[in-house]
Each structure stands twice: as structure tokens, then as C-alpha cells.
């Protein structure tokens, strides 16, 4: 985030009041609500011991769950990357009736509780649902397969790519494109050479966030996944099941792996965001 520094000049002197108060509030709240529970998890993880920890996370069922989570999240993210890019492009570059509504709809998955999404998607794709009735005769099974997992993940993380790319695309200075046209460049070349590099960092931020959200998605997935060990059991559900089996070590180990992945993705997205900002700074 320091990359934003040019926009917010460094203040050596503390003219403004309230540092103590706001910092105190922030640290207390983050400490009690976020840090303390996370520390409890880390302590539990430390209790397990490295050998057992490795044993838990390399057990076939855990590996399968982590693999499924990663593969399904990748599938979901690929769809969202393309769909999000399409939506951002269409919403910024074209005018057509119903555009505002379409734009507004993009936020629905954020506001819609994931359990509701799960309930609706499962019923919709079940054999007697609207989509299921169409797909099942074709031999396409979505509910209780990896496709269902990916579908639920994709639905709940739709807004990330759209909302990351949209503002950058809006701010994109048309003069580069004009110059390219003057130089006789083909439309596809323009997109590839001029537009894509400009929106790439923002696109990647959206993709990273979408991927992170997909990895963590629970409510929607458990409704639709079928929870078949080794086949459609996602990692956070396995952690949940381990809890129900009184296997606290198992639950904590899996939770720690997921926490670690989330942290890595967070840092990656912050670095990307910093790059995106720098690019914007240059363009403006």
C-alpha cells in the first residue's frame, strides 16, 4: 500500500490529532476480534507438532480435499475472469437499454447470503429444477459433482473481477487507442497491445480476490457439493467434519493451511494493487 504514497504526501510532523485514540481503538478491536482467535488457532497448530501436522495434511483425504478446492476454485476463477472482463468491457464501452440494471446486478452475489445462493443453485440444478430438467437428459450432472462446487464458488465471487477492472477501464485515456488507430492498428491488436496491458494489474487483482474468495466459500458449496470424501469434499468442509469427529488437531491443521493460503493471496493482491496504482498514477 505504500505505493499510494505519491497521492498522500508523507507527513513527518503530526499536525493532526487523534493518533493515540484511533490507533488504540484499531488495535484493541483487531486484537480482540481478529488476532486473539487467530492466535488460538496457531497455538493449537503448534500443539500438534510438525510430524503429526505433516501427517494430517498429507493424508489422502486431506490432499484430495485441498486439491478439489484448488481445482474447483481455479475453474470458477477462469469463468469469472472471462465473464468479469466481458461485463466490465460491455458496461464501460457500450450504451444499451438496461445497462444500469445489469451494472447493479453485478453486486447481488455480494449481498446475497451464500446459504441462499446454495439453496437456490442446488434446487435449480437438481433433477427436478429448471436447469437440471434441461441438463439431465443430456447426461450432464452438476449437483454433487465438481462442476457444482465450481458453480457455487463462481456465483459467490462474480463481482470481484468486474469491480476491479471497471474503474481502470473507465479511466483509461482514449488517446492511446486513438494513436493506435491512426497508426492503422487492427482492433484486436489494439486490445491486446494497448488496453490489456493497462488493465492487466487490475484484472489480476480481481482474479486473485475471486480465487481467494472461492477457496474460502462454504455456505453455497456445502449445499451443492454432495460432500463425497475424496471426490466432492472441499477443504473447509473437511475441517468442519474433523471438528464434528472431535478431531481438533485435524480441524486446526486444515484450518491453518487455509489461513496460510489466504495470507499468501492477500499479500499477492496487495502487491498487485500497488502495481495497479502505480500504473494509474503514470497514466493520469
Amino acid at each position: 500500500m505504500t505505493a499510494i504514497a505519491p497521492a498522500a504526501p508523507v507527513r513527518a510532523k503530526r499536525v493532526l490529532p487523534g493518533f493515540g485514540l484511533t490507533m488504540g481503538v484499531t488495535l484493541t478491536y483487531v486484537g480482540v476480534i481478529v488476532l486473539l482467535p487467530v492466535i488460538a488457532l496457531v497455538l493449537k497448530g503448534a500443539e500438534i507438532g510438525p510430524e503429526r501436522f505433516v501427517q494430517i495434511i498429507t493424508a489422502p483425504r486431506t490432499r484430495a480435499a485441498l486439491q478439489l478446492t484448488l481445482v474447483a476454485a481455479t475453474m470458477a476463477t477462469i469463468f469469472n475472469a472471462l465473464y468479469g472482463l466481458l461485463m466490465a468491457w460491455v458496461l464501460v464501452r457500450y450504451d444499451f437499454p438496461g445497462k444500469r440494471l445489469l451494472d447493479a446486478l453485478m453486486d447481488v452475489p455480494f449481498a446475497l447470503p451464500t446459504a441462499v445462493a446454495g439453496l437456490a443453485l442446488t434446487a435449480l440444478f437438481a433433477g427436478n429444477g429448471w436447469y437440471g430438467a434441461l441438463l439431465q437428459p443430456l447426461g450432464i450432472e452438476v449437483v454433487y459433482t465438481i462442476w457444482g462446487v465450481a458453480l457455487a464458488m463462481s456465483f459467490t465471487s462474480i463481482p470481484f473481477v468486474v469491480r476491479s477492472v471497471q474503474p481502470v477501464l473507465e479511466d483509461l485515456d482514449p488517446q492511446y487507442e486513438e494513436a493506435a488507430v491512426t497508426l492503422g492498428a487492427h482492433r484486436w491488436t489494439i486490445f491486446y497491445r494497448v488496453i490489456l496491458p493497462a488493465i492487466l494489474p487490475a484484472w489480476l487483482v480481481g482474479i486473485t480476490l475471486s480465487f481467494a474468495r472461492s477457496l474460502g466459500e462454504f455456505g453455497a458449496v456445502v449445499f451443492i457439493a454432495g460432500n463425497l470424501p475424496m471426490k466432492t469434499e472441499i477443504a473447509s468442509l473437511l475441517a468442519f467434519i474433523r471438528l464434528e469427529e472431535y478431531d481438533y488437531n485435524g480441524a486446526a491443521a486444515i484450518a491453518l493451511v487455509l489461513l496460510f493460503i489466504a495470507l499468501v493471496l492477500l499479500v499477492a493482491s496487495n502487491l498487485l494493487q500497488a502495481r495497479a496504482m502505480r500504473y494509474k498514477g503514470k497514466g493520469a
Binding site: 434446487a123 433433477g127 454432495g226 463425497l228 475424496m230 464434528e244 469427529e245
Partner: protein
């Protein structure tokens, strides 16, 4: 504005019913929803008549082991009504329930029992009559996850016991049989009721295996779909043990009403309510009265076939034991 909303929220009934002088929380297994919805008002009336006191009874339902874990973590249950002795034993081991809880009530603290039974679709198109029909290639079987659901553990053990019986005690053949059964299950829900929803609402599977009480009730509730109950030739007796969570009850001052609540399940009135909800009971009069509801079959017990729950825990349910091998490597 906010305070008014808050007040509205509170008046909507967030506060516990103020009039009740006694309150208990019954933490129970997943499919007992309708059962206790039927029993609680009758008990409350009786309690009022006997003591002049009002009692409010809260219910929590979920997979039996999940519920036990929640109590270990502090869910303030006064009584537990579970479907597996091991889940109460866990509480006893942690000191929440009296060590000798099995002697605290008659019949090893199990006021009623049931057994894993089948529910098939209208006309029984796959011709399912017994356990060995379930491992045919084209049969899809629905039951919940045996790692989280006591209901499914009985199914697992009943299938195993059946296979032992027909294979003259050959464990290898029995495990092969159960492995093939697992291979026919397209989805493992975490609780018994979710499995029922999968079968009845999402139209998945040819046969649902769950407690007889559930198959009977679902057959009635979905009469228009024509589900048919099928009782296998052999099944495993499923106890439904109860206990007062003494530590919580002592803190809540609810020991007396908790005990009375569980005693009520043994009374003729309670036994009749249980039988009406398709649970098998011990009371001879009620038994005779409802005899036509409960087909005869060979019922074996966990003690007979597997040497008791402790041994089942070690040989079958422990991490990496037989269930894990069959379930995870299917």
C-alpha cells in the same frame, strides 16, 4: 430510530418466554424434530398439572456427534436424547454427565429403539427387498456420512452384520460387501435429515437407509410420491439413550424437571407418543397396541455381533480403522 428497532426486535420475542418458571434445553439427534415437537407440549401440560409450574422446552437438532461436541464446548444442554451411547459416553468422560448414567434410567437409559430400514420409490422398481439388493451395480443408495451421523453408523454396522451372517462370519467378505455398498452412495450428507431431503426432495437415489421411524414418517408425509417401506431380513438394534447433563442442570437449577422430562419418555403416555412416531418401545401394552406397525425381523445388537461399542470404536470407527478404509477408499 435504532433503539426503537431494537425494542421491536426484542418484543418480537428475543427474550425467553418470561412466564415459564422452568426451562430446559433438550439437545437431540437430527431426525427427532417431529418427535419432540409432539412430546414437549404433552409433557409441559403434565408438568403444569403436577407441579403448577410452567416449563419451556428448547430444542436443538443435529448429527448426534456434532451435538455432543457442541455440549463439550459449552452448549448449555440440560438433557440429551441421542441415538448412540458413545456420544453420551464422551460427555460422561468429560464429567458433564454422571459416570453411571446408564443406570440412572431403565433399559440402560434407552426409553425406545429403532433400526436401520429402507425406503424405496413407488412400486419398488429396483426390486429391493434386503441388504444384498443394495450392492447391485445399478442401485443408488442414500444414507448420511457415517463419520458425522450416528444414524449412518448404524447403517454401516447393520450392513456389516448382515454380511457377516450370510458369509458365516467371514470379515473379509463382510468388508468387501460394505465397500460395495459405499460405492453405490452418490452423496454423503452430514445428518440423517439432509439425507432424507436428498432422497425425497432432490429425487436422488433408489433407496434411502435411515431409522425405521424416519422411513415410516416420510412415507406418510410424502404419500403422494408413493414411497414404500421395506424392512430387511436382519438389522441392528439402535438404542436411543438419554441422560441429564448434570453439570449444566445443576447450574441451571433444572435437575428436577430434567429428570421428570426423561422419566416421562418411559411413562405409558410417553411410550404411546413414541410409538405413534414410529419408534419401537418396551411398554407391553403399547407394544401390543401398535404391533401391526412394526414388522418382525431378526434384530441383532452391537454387543452380540461386535462385542460392544468400545470395541466398535477401536476396530471400526477410530481414525484409520475399518470404516475409514472402506469409506475413504471407496
Amino acid at each position: 430510530m435504532k433503539t426503537r428497532l431494537l425494542a421491536a426486535a426484542l418484543t418480537l420475542g428475543l427474550a425467553a418466554p418470561a412466564s415459564a418458571q422452568d426451562a430446559i434445553l433438550n439437545v437431540s439427534y437430527d431426525i427427532a424434530r417431529e418427535l419432540f415437537a409432539a412430546i414437549n407440549p404433552v409433557f409441559a401440560e403434565k408438568w403444569k398439572a403436577e407441579t403448577g409450574r410452567d416449563v419451556s422446552i428448547d430444542q436443538s437438532h443435529g448429527g448426534s456427534s456434532r451435538q455432543a461436541r457442541a455440549i463439550l464446548e459449552g452448549l448449555p444442554a440440560d438433557v440429551v436424547t441421542f441415538n448412540q451411547t458413545t456420544d453420551i459416553q464422551v460427555l460422561a468422560d468429560a464429567g458433564l454427565v454422571d459416570e453411571n448414567w446408564r443406570e440412572a434410567f431403565p433399559n440402560d437409559a434407552s426409553p425406545y429403539y429403532s433400526l436401520p430400514s429402507f425406503l424405496v420409490r413407488e412400486g419398488n422398481p429396483k426390486g429391493i427387498e434386503d441388504w444384498d439388493d443394495l450392492v447391485a451395480e445399478d442401485v443408488q443408495v442414500i444414507f448420511p456420512n457415517p463419520k458425522t451421523s450416528g444414524n449412518a453408523r448404524y447403517t454401516y454396522l447393520a450392513a456389516y452384520a448382515y454380511a457377516l451372517e450370510v458369509n458365516d462370519g467371514d470379515h473379509e467378505a463382510a468388508q468387501d460387501f460394505v465397500g460395495r455398498l459405499f460405492a453405490n452412495v452418490p452423496v454423503f450428507d452430514t445428518g440423517g435429515r439432509a439425507a432424507t431431503a436428498t432422497f425425497a426432495e432432490r429425487n436422488l437415489g433408489d433407496v434411502l437407509i435411515t431409522f425405521e421411524a424416519e422411513t415410516a414418517q416420510i412415507a406418510r408425509q410424502y404419500a403422494d410420491q408413493g414411497f414404500e417401506q421395506v424392512t430387511p431380513s436382519l438389522s441392528l438394534l439402535a438404542e436411543f439413550p438419554v441422560a441429564v447433563v448434570s453439570e449444566n442442570a445443576a447450574r441451571n437449577g433444572s435437575e428436577e424437571v430434567s429428570k421428570a422430562y426423561l422419566d416421562f419418555l418411559y411413562s405409558p403416555e410417553g411410550q404411546r407418543l413414541l410409538a405413534e412416531n414410529d419408534y419401537r418401545v418396551h411398554d407391553e401394552t403399547v407394544k401390543a397396541e401398535f404391533a401391526d406397525r412394526f414388522p418382525e425381523l431378526k434384530l441383532v445388537t452391537a454387543e452380540d455381533v461386535f462385542g460392544g461399542w468400545e470395541q466398535i470404536g477401536e476396530e471400526h470407527l477410530a481414525e484409520g480403522a475399518i470404516l475409514d478404509r472402506l469409506f475413504v477408499n471407496q
